[in-house]
């Protein structure tokens, strides 16, 4: 099997596995909406307050939804031994891991875009920011999956790695949060967002290149 076909094979495999538990795919979505709903309940329903907080609230909630879904990235493969098999495969583990991350994003990150209009409505986000919101979600959710993968790889062997995973990953998420929420915020005021989007794109490419290596090193460590 060539490297390219192995890469696509693993994406297909993970997507297939995820589809077999189709109901679970909706969980990050529900969580995303639920968390956003908590904010008006907590701070009050004044329209102007919610509107000014909307970009930040939506993005923090997206971050938390991504964080919660990270565990599924390597957990089941770790537990049933498939991860070890991947390690033994002749193909570069980096590329297989990248494939898994892409599949994970397709299942947990991309769907978040579906509820973005709903959330924009809940918080009164101006319509002119909608496009930027979707754009930041498309650019930054893969980033969240990529950066998160390092944390998951480091903690997959731990019994209760969930809390440590958050501690490890959230500081690394900060730049993504800053640029993404700032972009949506500026778009809501009608200001240009090129700088922020460029930064997110740059970070995305950087992550695509830099993430697989430490992730595979961490997986090899976790499996031993």
């Amino acid at each position: 099997m060539s490297l390219k076909s192995a890469f696509f094979a693993i994406i297909r495999r993970d997507l297939l596995l995820a589809f077999r538990r189709r109901a679970e795919m909706a969980n990050p979505l529900f969580f995303f909406v639920l968390v956003v709903t908590l904010f008006p309940l907590a701070v009050g329903a004044q329209a102007h307050l919610l509107q000014s907080m909307a970009p930040g609230v939506i993005w923090v909630s997206a971050l938390l939804a991504a964080l919660l879904s990270l565990d599924g990235l390597f957990r089941s493969d770790f537990e049933d031994g498939s991860l070890e098999q991947m390690l033994l495969s002749p193909h570069a583990l980096s590329l297989l891991v990248l494939g898994k991350i892409i599949a994970h994003w397709l299942v947990t990150g991309l769907p978040l875009l579906l509820v973005a209009p709903l959330l924009a409505m809940f918080l009164g986000l101006p319509e002119q920011a909608m496009g930027t919101l979707l754009l930041t979600l498309i650019l930054a959710t893969p980033l969240l999956s990529l950066i998160g993968a390092i944390g998951v790889a480091l903690t997959v062997g731990l019994r209760r790695g969930g809390m440590i995973l958050s501690l490890l990953v959230l500081p690394l998420y900060v730049p993504v949060l800053i640029f993404a929420s700032s972009a949506v915020d500026r778009a809501a005021s009608g200001l240009p967002v090129n700088a922020q989007l460029n930064m997110l794109t740059a970070l995305l490419f950087l992550a695509l290149v830099l993430v697989p290596l430490p992730t595979t090193a961490a997986l090899k460590m976790s499996i031993n």
Partner: protein, 253 residues
């Protein structure tokens, strides 16, 4: 590679072995302590007594003599940890692993000091205990990076794996530090409060600068002392079954 004379190479090679390093640490620590005490007293004398009051901030600015060197140390130590992590991963040198994990609490301590002194400096100046100043915010995130390393090391039972994990994490963290700093600075300029923080670029006079630099160097010597003490403990823990430790115990009795 005969750039270095053989004796130097031999020295480093032998020092990497735990018993030699342990003995070396014992020899160095007293001297380092003497130098540290001299420097810290000089720095404190210069900073608290000799340096004049600030025109705008009065005597409260004297916190700078701890705040800035502590912040510098917090970054310096993290970079060192990343280097040690790289050495540990590439060359599998146990000592590098030991130095990495020994440095983490010290770095976290300096980060904590930078945050608390920043807060104490800010309260009389800005009226609040906390402001989302670019430097303070970056330091806060750095503290979490340190805590992550300490937690991860504590959570992994197998020592070899724990060392590998924190080496990876330190390297990942060090790549992120400039990104985080840049994004936080950028974020801060967007949300700049009405008061420009005096912390970021203090207008510094030479009589104020010299004690600052002395304190910075003093803190470096402190780090050396603290990391050597911690490394000795860590080595004993890891090698408690080995022959050199048994000999050490017999010699002590």
């Amino acid at each position: 590679m005969s750039v270095f004379p053989d004796a130097v190479g031999l020295f480093f090679h032998r020092s990497a072995s735990p018993p030699h390093f342990y003995a070396l640490a014992d020899r160095f620590i007293p001297w380092l302590t003497v130098i540290f005490v001299v420097l810290i007293l000089a720095g404190l004398y210069g900073g608290l007594y000799l340096a004049p009051s600030d025109y705008q901030q009065g005597d409260s600015y004297r916190i700078i003599y701890i705040h800035v060197p502590a912040a510098w140390m917090s970054l310096f130590i993290y970079v060192l940890m990343a280097i040690m992590g790289g050495i540990a991963l590439v060359w599998r040198i146990k000592l590098a692993e030991v130095m990495l994990i020994s440095s983490a609490p010290i770095g976290a301590g300096f980060t904590f000091i930078a945050l608390v002194t920043g807060s104490l400096w800010g309260k009389p100046m800005w009226g609040t205990w906390w402001v989302w100043d670019a430097r303070l915010t970056s330091e806060l995130i750095l503290l979490f990076l340190y805590l992550g390393i300490i937690s991860l090391h504590g959570a992994i039972e197998d020592q070899r794996n724990a060392a590998r994990a924190v080496s990876i994490l330190a390297l990942v963290g060090v790549v992120n530090i400039p990104i985080i700093h840049y994004s936080v600075e950028w974020w801060n300029t967007l949300h700049q409060g009405p008061t420009v923080t005096k912390m970021d670029k203090p207008s510094i006079h030479i009589t104020m600068l010299v004690p600052l630099l002395i304190m910075a160097i003093a803190f470096k010597f402190y780090y050396l002392i603290a990391v050597l003490q911690s490394a000795k403990l860590e080595l004993l823990k890891r090698e408690s079954g080995s022959q050199w430790v048994k000999t050490l115990l017999e010699n002590q009795a």
